[in-house]
Symmetry: C2
Subunit: 198 residues, 2 copies
């Protein structure tokens, strides 16, 4: 005996969500079958509501209920500095470090030659347009520190400098609150290179 | 800056699905925001369709498009033997071992004193009713082999025997295709106790 066809279909579709394997998709599916009518409505409504109300900001491509988003509409921010991130989640993470008061730009991914993701697949053309139009003096490249993020950062730095704008990268080093014992050697090397006088 | 409220709400609801932590709920939520209209429709439709068409079989409490389910409606099966499992997923697993040709009963969980799940929270009364009504000669207790499943099995065995019916439990031992090196000691002890002559 196999799973009933409608359950099978639900499992197949849920399996495609990021980080969800076949076993987990099955668990989630049977859980959904056991949920109350109310709970299922809430789940579906939350998805529909988010899909309806959340859009891309046409300036920074952050996801927001507003266009332009609240950050881009904030006139008190420093207008000559932009922080480039890969995803809206990264933007939220950077914004939680309260020190930064400039604007943002969300690339929507990173370059990945192995996955055939090139400059035309992320918003590099839109970033160039934005850099050309404004009075931007510095771009902080805050892509991830994995190989894709690094490739993207190097690629972006080239473009940014060609436009006569200063390109910077977030500093490498030990994460605050971390145990040196567990830091990997590359991070430690970077932290030594970036050591500061006390 | 925090996540937009509708995203926050979606994350909170998705976080409650089994095995989904906060980080994963966030990843899934942003993935859903990036999905095409079509993909979102497929996801929601598969959930709604499964909810509408799948019901409990009123004989064995398996989930099925039919009531009675195809197994309970199958007159070629052996009518005097029932296999008791915790969940519909367990039923599917047992049914894939083609040797068993009897019927099933899905408890809908296991006893768990620590979680205050007692006999009235799973379908023990319905199982007793079924055992009393039929011409059942043997009940195979196929609950999980964790502590909850074991407690449930012992509890059920008592009831089954009181009704004058034979109670059996699935055999313990090494899983087929497994490496002895990675088997835990309890499983090995059980396998030694259950050794067979070659």
């Amino acid at each position: 005996m196999n799973r009933p066809q409608p359950v099978e279909r639900m499992v197949e579709i849920i399996k495609k969500l990021p980080g969800v394997g076949p076993k987990m998709a099955e668990r989630i599916s049977y859980h959904i079958l056991k949920m109350s009518e109310n709970e299922v409505d809430r789940l579906i409504n939350s998805i529909q509501k988010a899909r309806e109300t959340i859009k891309y900001c046409n300036i920074c491509y952050n996801l927001s209920e507003h266009d332009p988003c609240l950050i881009c509409a904030d006139a008190t921010r420093e207008g000559d500095i932009i922080c480039v991130v890969e995803t809206p989640q990264d933007l939220i993470a950077v914004s939680k470090a309260k020190d930064y008061r400039g604007f943002y730009f969300v690339l929507g991914g990173a370059l990945s030659p192995l996955d055939a993701i090139g400059p035309e697949d992320i918003r590099i053309d839109k970033l160039i347009k934005r850099l050309k139009s404004g009075s931007i003096k510095e771009v902080i490249v805050a892509t991830d520190t994995d190989s894709k993020g690094e490739i993207t950062a190097v690629y972006l730095a080239g473009i940014i400098k060609t436009l006569g704008i200063k390109a910077t990268r977030l500093g490498y080093g030990l994460p605050v609150g971390g145990d040196i014992e567990y830091a990997d050697e590359v991070t430690i090397s970077r932290a030594i290179a970036g050591r500061t006088e006390m």
